[in-house]
Amino acid sequence: MSKPEVGSEHHGGQDLQKGPAVPLRVRLPALIPLATVWIVATLPAGFFLLHLSNPQAAVSLSTTATELALQALFVVTAAVLFGFLMYPPLPAWVRRHIDRTRTKWNADRAPMARAIAELKHFETAQKHFEVAKLAWIRADYSLVAAHAQRSVALDSTLPSAQYLLGLISLETDALQEALSAFSAAEKLDPGHAFGQALLHRARVQHLLGDQNASLTSFEQYTRTHGSNHRSNYWHGEALATAGRSEEASMAYRAAAADPKSRLTAEENWFRALARVRCWRVDRTEQTAGGSK
């Protein structure tokens, strides 16, 4: 099952500490604070250089930048306040972001460091999966991708590793890889992760444009595992793309329905998105009714 490689962090010609490239969209939240620090660091040097050639331009730029920054702050504050009141996905996104950050910042460093250290001496698919899973919690996506891929390469019969590889592939827009991984996870362990592998497969099939397969997978998921806000929203999107507007509208309404108990941040996010879809559907229907 596994081939031990003593004292090496390089497996299969790939540096697992670096991992494959993660799209900018995924890395952006982590880059914003660093970029802000660099802007603060380089602005004075920029002003100084500008001052040497044209002191008035430096002052003018500084004054304009300050005014624009204040205006932008005012506009953003007003937009955020308005959005919080009128646009449900905004508070839902904030809640989800806080929830994810709290999970990430509360994740224990020790098990991951220990697992990586152990991998230097003895490599197993299970150990790579453990590292990938802990890195997923810490949102260290390049590490997740590298270790999940290595885990699957060592042992392709681990459904959890396949499922995790699917999740990271979906996150990094590698849809074909995601589809293969979710399909493998579902085949190895039908109903894996309480049906999440099947649900994600349906989502990926929809994103790849295979609407028939996607709708079949969604129906299979609903039949086997019931439905929830996320599955209803994704199902609605697939139905809408397939041109089945009435069924899509029903799926959106089910996704936007009032919850019986407090939703998790993730589920709440999909409910908020569904509420916006419902508004759009209602408006379209009103417009169509008015034109008749």
């Binding site: 620090v37 660091a41 002191p55 002052v59 509360n106």
Partner: protein, 285 residues
Amino acid sequence: MKDVLQQADEIPVTLLVTLAYVTLAFLTDPIAPTDTQLHQHGWLLATEVSNGEPWRLLTSAFLHGGWMHLAFNTYAMLSLGPGLERSLGSLRMALLYIVSALGGSIAVCLVNAPWQPVLGGSGALFGMMGAIIALQMRASNSALGFLQYAGARRTIKLVALYLLFGMLIPFISNTAHVGGLIAGFGVTFLFMTGTNSLERWMPRWRIAYVAMLGGLLLHVLQPTTRWDWLARQSLATQDRERSDDLAIAAAMSLTGKSTVTASDLLAVQIEMQTLDKWLKEWNEK
């Protein structure tokens, strides 16, 4: 070299800083020092820092404006210093104090009016509190794991309480407190604790932190967008055309207008005369 560093690491920094507080207090007046005494011994004035007196960025962190100010900061130094010095070592403690003092002073020069004097070790003391939080964060198994301990929560509450006092009491410079806190937290978090292979972001942040401190220090020493510095440069420049450019830039900075008139140029002159009059009074009394 290693021996020298080892010996230097045994110098009691907390004691030396406290002695510096007291010595400077007696060199001025421990009960009620005058503005002139404080000015001569290095209080922080942004306009003078950019006018060839950068040492004020550090001397102001050892100088106090009366016995109550001195007593409060000495008590805080003696409460926080010994434990922190045992954890970090003397050399790092000295570096922490200097960087925190510098952070507080830079923040004051950037935010406060150029003629507003500031003094006291509280910026550096806030940096030490930031360092305690950073050490607790780094010692914990997760970024927020330290909040499980009552001691860590108490430190954060203390910082929040002092910042609240700073907001309510008008003559306390919260700008220096916040600047010191950020600088002390940053230098301890990034440079004074061990790191591991999981923290691949650390080198990027270390470089960015040093660049930010350097950039802001450059702007404090050469504030190319502040009217008083531009006006002084205008007076000191021999080149007539350049001098006029600088005078107009000074007026633009003072008034916030994109085009200036003769009365705006006059306003800069009047402001400069007032500023110079104060400085002269503080120097001569």
